[in-house]
């Protein structure tokens, strides 16, 4: 398969210039990338067969509170799905909390927003009121953020679903892109109904 042709562009909000890559058709998925910057993986190739991917490179340091929401609005996205990876998990949760009606569903890939040595009581209090359908993914071999942190999100958020991706480290989408993309696409399409398998088991009809 030929490499997917991403279009690189910039969006400006509150005087902050944010670089992003876009590809695909359909429901927009805003992906806030982690500290590694704008590095796309095979998982993006797989995701863009199903959704319109807009991968954002977050500038270093904290953004003004509503800048991300304004940036997304500038791109003309009224409602959208949102994904945050690792250190961008906190920004994704912040945006979901600010814009509960615009964010249709939230995916957190190995989020670092809650860590055993750095619990944010205020964030955790606010999360308990977030009803956005949320998928939290941890690799079973993550040695950056303990996968056991997944249960904290699951316990706090009423519509949160925790999935362990076997044999993946912190960079789940790079380590097991097919497994990652399959569950993300299914969740974005069906939200909590994704627990019902649609796999075919007929060997010979």
């Amino acid at each position: 398969m030929a490499p997917t042709a991403f279009r690189e562009d910039y969006v400006e909000a509150d005087g902050v210039r944010i670089r992003y890559m876009e590809v695909g058709q359909g429901t927009p998925l805003v992906h806030l990338l982690g500290a590694g910057g704008l590095r796309l993986t095979r998982a993006h190739d797989l995701l863009c067969r199903h959704v319109r991917v807009l991968a954002f490179e977050l500038p270093e340091g904290p953004l003004p509170e509503h800048t991300l929401a304004r940036a997304v609005a500038t791109l003309g996205l009224d409602t959208f799905d949102l994904m945050g990876t690792s250190s961008a998990g906190a920004a994704a949760l912040g945006l979901a909390l600010q814009e509960p009606r615009r964010v249709r569903a939230l995916v957190l890939e190995a989020p670092a927003a809650i860590r055993p040595d750095n619990r944010d009581a205020d964030l955790e209090r606010r999360l308990s009121g977030l009803t956005t359908p949320t998928l939290v993914l941890f690799g079973t071999a993550d040695d950056v953020v303990p996968p056991a942190m997944g249960r904290v999100y699951k316990a706090l958020m009423s519509n949160c679903h925790l999935v362990f991706v076997y044999a993946a480290g912190h960079a789940i989408s790079a380590d097991r892109p097919e497994a990652f993309a399959e569950v993300v696409v299914d969740f974005l399409e069906r939200h909590e109904a994704f627990v019902i398998s649609r796999a075919q088991t007929v060997i010979h009809p």
Binding site: L137, T140, G150, R151, K154, A155, H161, L162, V163, F164, V165, Y166, A167, R176, A179, F180, E182, V183, F194, V195, I196, S197, A199
Partner: protein
């Protein structure tokens, strides 16, 4: 030293059976089967009385040699009849099981048996792969993943999904959880590099079987090295050695018993099947290749009078490092119950009391 009795049910076939695996199901005699399971409980009551620490059961299919295709059913039946002994379920063959079901059933069993459960998880012998159409080339990977999923199902307090290579579940949240926390004492059974590494990584025990002390010591040494690499040290009770033992009043009698044994492999297969298994399966001892097919009888590593056996057990502890011996006191497939009971009595009265402190 802890002592475990390996219970194989001892089906006594009224007529000679074909040796090849799978043994035709039509040759099964239901009266002989009923007698075998009744006899199992009577025997185990005696085993408990003699002071054995554990009784172990295993999973084998399509043959009368070890009549426990579902070791969980055996273990539950035994747990209900015996009140003190620990039940060692060694164990579910993980690659062809539903790991979540295994986690649930073992948690039930641990709770119903009031914490008298020990678990061994394993890949299974080469012929077992054929039982449920498992691709032998996938068996190792499915075992590792399945074991990890069982541990996760026991310990994760929140409902979770599992996006595996071979197993996929969108939601898992088992009830009951095990009585023993975080889970029953668990062993990864096998001599392979992969099995030892898995055990070390997850702080599990290790179990080896049948081979001579020096060969098994390669695996247990490798296991201990891997544990050290992961920053911990296993206790002797975390190493099980399963073996055949022939004990008699004198060394001469024991040697005569050994000479009288058949040298037939426990599971013979058609040549074409065996050759195909050899090319599809691979096995190793701490990384050194070994044949996936057992060509002769499994070795008997303890042979002699009570005095000789005590010395052999001492040597086993030194060389293999095992703190648990899981014993067949008679060839596992043999239906000669009188000899088995004599061996049990001799071992229980003349050997067992002397090896506890080893």
């Amino acid at each position: 030293m802890k002592i475990s009795f390996f219970e194989t049910v001892r089906y006594r076939a009224p007529e000679a059976l074909p040796p090849e695996w799978p043994v035709p199901s039509g040759a099964y005699d239901r009266d002989a089967g009923a007698a075998a399971y009744r006899g199992m409980i009577e025997r185990l009551e005696y085993v408990e009385e003699l002071g054995f620490d554990w009784v172990s059961v295993s999973e084998h299919h399509y043959s009368p040699r070890i009549l426990t295709p579902s070791p969980i059913v055996s273990a539950a039946f035994i747990a209900a009849h015996l009140k003190r002994i620990t039940i060692a379920l060694l164990g579910p063959i993980v690659p062809h099981s539903n790991p979540v079901r295994v986690a649930e059933e073992l948690a039930m069993l641990d709770t119903m048996a009031q914490g008298r459960l020990v678990v061994g998880l394993l890949r299974g012998t080469a012929n077992e792969a054929m039982t449920y159409d498992l691709n032998p080339q996938e068996a190792r990977e499915r075992t590792d993943e399945g074991m990890e999923l069982i541990l996760k199902a026991w310990t994760e307090p929140q409902p979770f999904g599992w996006q595996g290579r071979h197993f996929q579940y969108r939601t898992v949240s088992i009830w009951p959880r095990p009585l023993q926390q975080p889970h029953p004492p668990t062993f990864a059974l096998g001599t392979s590099r992969e099995s030892c590494e898995f055990a070390a990584r997850h702080h599990l025990g290790c179990g080896v079987s049948y081979g001579p002390f020096e060969v098994m010591a390669k695996a247990t040494r490798y296991y201990r090295e891997q544990c050290a690499r992961h920053g911990w040290q296993p206790s002797p009770e975390q190493i099980i050695y399963r073996a055949n033992m022939l004990v008699a009043e004198t060394d001469e009698e024991a040697q005569a018993l050994l000479r009288a044994q058949s040298n037939q492999a426990p599971f013979t297969m058609r040549a074409g099947v065996r050759d195909a298994v050899m090319t599809l399966d691979s096995r190793n001892i701490a990384g050194e290749a070994r044949s996936p097919v057992v060509s002769g009888a499994l070795p008997t590593t303890f042979v002699g009078s009570p005095d000789t056996i005590v010395e052999q057990v001492r040597r086993c502890r030194e060389v293999v490092g095992a703190g648990v011996l899981d014993l067949s006191l008679h060839p596992p497939g043999s239906g000669d119950l009188d000899s088995l009971m004599r061996a049990l009595e001799l071992f229980g009265t003349k050997v067992l009391p002397r090896i506890r402190e080893i």
